[in-house]
């Protein structure tokens, strides 16, 4: 018999989206001075959700000034244990409003509600709780106790509220104030967070949120009043930022792209490895900088693993992101889908074999069926360039040395995964893989206590853990 799941959509009634949003500066929502507006859409339906402000230069300066004033007058004078109380309060409010935030994230980003509900939002709260614990112990972390001052933070659209938490929580815990620019296509949860700051009675100006696109981001980077820039996004933009900051006194941390290898040995726990491969590249539609986009599978188990993987991909449920049973949501934007299309075409043209999961795509919105390529070599574009979509490139290896060599043969170095029941070999691999995060028999697992960040073109600086505090403390050479 067939067992079709009836639609089980999460209710939209818990969110209240305003038709228009201003900027959050100095504790209040204000209208722009010299900016414009743009529309934000639901990528699953192309429905316009709201009108967002694109901040201009005067708006950014106003936000930086507010952050500076708040830093001087209140936040830098406040003892760590008092800052901790605000962080705790924010964490609690996030938990209380978690359903609303999850629905809002799914509407604006296109990710499945199962992920925003079970992964994104719980991790957001966890990051604030974790850093609340650090706020009065900063001096014991080993990176001094001097905050930069005003931190300019620019975050991407793939995990909008989670990336906000990764940036804002440590910055505030260390005693900085913040000017945050969310990605232009996913401003709604950042604006909801602004409301949470007010609800928590956070002193005005400690967190300022200026919405807008790349231009606004550039103004934040170039603002003379900003002491530190933290950026998560593409390697291309990261390089521009580093060039712009060369010769200034500003601090910088970058979390950029990746092309992670997920390495499956012949003694791997196969069923769990298949789950890990799926979670590595199809989690969040592959819009993950640390996605396991290159599967390196030992040649002797290639057929077995690929058979199991294809079978598993055929059971993935693609569709309405608000449906609680959806596994694969919408591609974030038309531009992103065009980029995926382009790279997939290059894979076909260069001779790799494409296989896509059999599933029907909705008529409206942006979608891409889970896809894998076999017969991929290191020379193919799909083995080298970050696709940032639900596309897996499968390569093979014969020996552990070859696995290490191929895994490291990339300009990136953000993450890697090793699947084996042999712990000693996993550790041997981990010490040779040039990647910031190495997962053993799992993938895409995050915890606020565990530092995250990259090598090489994946950036520098760490987020989370004790090490993550260094990004928001000025290292003075004595």
């Amino acid at each position: 018999m067939t067992f079709e799941y009836s639609p089980a959509p999460e209710s939209r009634a818990v969110v209240d989206i305003a038709p228009h949003y201003g900027l959050f500066i100095d504790g209040d929502f204000v209208e722009t001075i010299d900016g414009t507006t743009f529309k934000t859409v639901n990528p699953a339906t192309e429905e316009v959700l709201s009108e967002i402000t694109e901040a201009g230069a005067a708006d950014v300066e106003r936000a930086v000034k507010a952050a500076r004033a708040a830093y001087k007058q209140t936040w830098s004078k406040m003892p760590g244990r008092e800052r901790a109380k605000y962080l705790y309060r924010i964490a609690r409010i996030i938990q209380e409003r978690s359903r609303e935030l999850a629905v809002l994230e799914t509407l604006d980003n296109g990710k499945p509600i199962r992920e925003s509900r079970d992964v994104d939002i719980p991790l957001v709260a966890a990051h604030f709780f974790y850093h609340a614990g650090w706020a009065d112990k900063i001096a014991y972390a080993g990176y001094g106790d001097k905050p930069y001052g005003v931190a300019g933070q620019i975050i991407p659209w793939n995990f909008p509220l989670l990336m906000l938490a990764w940036k804002v929580a440590p910055a505030l815990a260390c005693g900085n104030t913040v000017v945050l620019k969310p990605a232009e296509t996913t401003s709604l949860t950042a604006l909801a967070f602004a409301d949470i700051c007010r609800q928590a009675d956070l002193p005005p100006g400690v967190v300022n949120i200026v919405t807008g696109a790349g231009q606004t981001g550039r103004m934040v980077v170039e603002s003379p009043g900003v002491d530190k820039i933290a950026f998560t996004g593409s390697t291309e933009v990261g390089k521009l930022i580093q060039r712009a900051l060369a010769g200034t006194r500003k601090g910088l941390t970058l979390e950029l792209g990746g092309k992670a290898a997920n390495i499956v040995f012949d003694d791997a726990p196969v069923d769990e490895a298949v789950e890990g491969i799926v979670n590595g590249i199809f989690f969040n539609q592959g819009h993950v900088c640390c996605a396991g986009s290159r599967l390196l599978v030992q040649e002797s188990v290639q057929d077995e693993v690929l058979d199991a993987l294809k079978r598993r991909l055929s059971t993935l449920r693609l569709g309405d992101p608000l449906d609680k049973n959806t596994d694969i949501g919408a591609i974030h934007s038309a531009e992103q889908r065009a980029r995926i299309d382009d790279l997939v075409r290059s894979g076909e043209d260069e001779g790799a074999d494409r296989w896509s999961a059999p599933c029907s795509l909705p008529d409206r919105g942006f979608w891409f069926a889970p896809t894998l390529f076999t017969g991929v070599t290191q020379a193919h574009r799909i083995a080298r360039e970050e696709i940032f979509g639900p596309v897996l490139s499968v390569l093979t290896f014969r020996t552990p040395d070859e696995a290490v060599e191929k895994a490291n043969n990339t300009p990136y170095g953000l993450s890697a995964g090793v699947w084996s029941e042999k712990g000693s070999r996993t550790l041997w691999m981990a010490s040779r893989l040039r990647a910031g995060v190495i997962w053993a028999n799992t993938f895409n697992r995050f915890d606020p206590a565990s530092p995250f960040g990259g090598y090489k073109e994946s950036g520098f600086g760490r987020e989370g853990g004790r090490q993550g505090l260094a990004a928001y403390l000025k290292q003075e050479v004595v």
């Binding site: 799941y5 089980a8 003694d267 726990p269 029941e421 799992t442």
Partner: protein, 312 residues
């Protein structure tokens, strides 16, 4: 295919051990994560209705107590045949499950309408000689049982005497004649998922028609992750041999919500082919009444109460 495989690997304890220990390992965290993820599926409306009826039709309605009497067994059988007297559209359960000495009474009560399953082989501990276990089995079959739920010798399994466990299953299978054989692992005593996977292959190799988690007498009994390991085993066995083996989680499944989670797992791990009482059963007693309450609620739009379903 199975026979050829058995001829290859069941020749000595060493060969059998090599085969079982050569199976891919189970990563505990990953397996539990997968089970937890599947249990977040939200089954509503028509799909819930369908799942409840399917679950009812898969119940092995069970009484396995020292205090069982002919009267109790007859009451159980009446309930099994007509679970909800107020609604004749309610499906009947798959089987009644009793001790061997009650099999004749059960068979008399259900006729050919239901399967009669009897536990045998010195259930639940399995601590008796092979001769006793074989006699126990033959007795149950003679009393009218057409399904035998045997327990494996966990002591032998944990001591690494796999061939002894294998030979015993083969012997019981032969004693069953045409009766179907369910092999109970008592996963709560095997402890590790690796052991559960090895026991699954051992039983399938020896000719089990069904593999079953627990007796219900040991805690923990059936869990979602353990059942996941069993389902993966029968799925892969089918791909390897073309033969479909059934799965029966037993013990600890009490609510409709639990039952639906199991059905989702069957659906997403093994596929639709396994969504039949021929290949999936619930070993349960109190589960049936919760399924009936939910069924009544879906039919009438409101909850009734425990007095609106019959006790058995």
């Amino acid at each position: 295919m199975t026979a050829a495989l058995a001829a290859d690997v069941a020749v000595s304890n060493a060969a059998l051990r090599r085969y079982l220990h050569g199976l891919p390992g189970v990563d505990q965290v990953g397996a539990e994560g997968r089970a937890a993820m599947l249990s977040t599926r939200s089954i509503k409306a028509a799909s819930k209705q369908q799942a409840i009826d399917l679950a009812i039709s898969m119940v092995d309605l069970t009484t396995l107590e020292g205090m069982d009497t002919p009267g109790k067994v007859r009451a159980l059988c009446a309930k099994a045949l007509r679970p909800d007297p107020t609604d004749p559209t309610t499906p009947h359960v798959a089987a009644v499950c009793v001790y061997g000495d009650m099999a004749a009474i059960a068979r008399d009560a259900v006729g050919d309408a239901l399967h009669v399953a009897a536990v045998a082989t010195a259930f639940p501990s399995g601590r008796a000689s092979l001769a006793v276990k074989l006699a126990d089995t033959r007795d149950a079959v003679a009393n009218g049982a057409d399904e035998i739920d045997m327990v494996i010798d966990r002591g032998a399994f944990l001591a690494g005497r796999y061939l002894d466990v294998y030979d015993e299953i083969v012997a019981i299978k032969e004693a069953c004649g045409t009766a179907h054989l369910k092999v109970i692992f008592e996963t709560g005593e095997l402890r590790t998922y690796d052991n559960v996977r090895r026991a699954s292959y051992l039983a399938m190799l020896a000719g089990a028609d069904f593999i079953k988690t627990s007796t219900g007498k040991v805690s923990p009994a059936a869990t979602l992750p353990v059942t996941l390991i069993l389902l993966e085993a029968v799925r892969d066995w089918h791909r390897q041999t073309g033969q479909r083996i059934g799965v029966k989680p037993a013990g600890g499944i009490r609510t409709s919500k639990d039952a639906i989670r199991y059905l989702v797992m069957v659906n997403e791990v093994c596929g639709e082919a396994w969504l039949t009482p021929d290949l999936f059963r619930f070993g349960a007693s109190s589960l049936l009444n919760d399924l009936l309450l939910q069924r009544q609620r879906m039919r009438t739009g409101h909850y009734s109460g425990p007095d609106y379903v019959t006790i058995d």
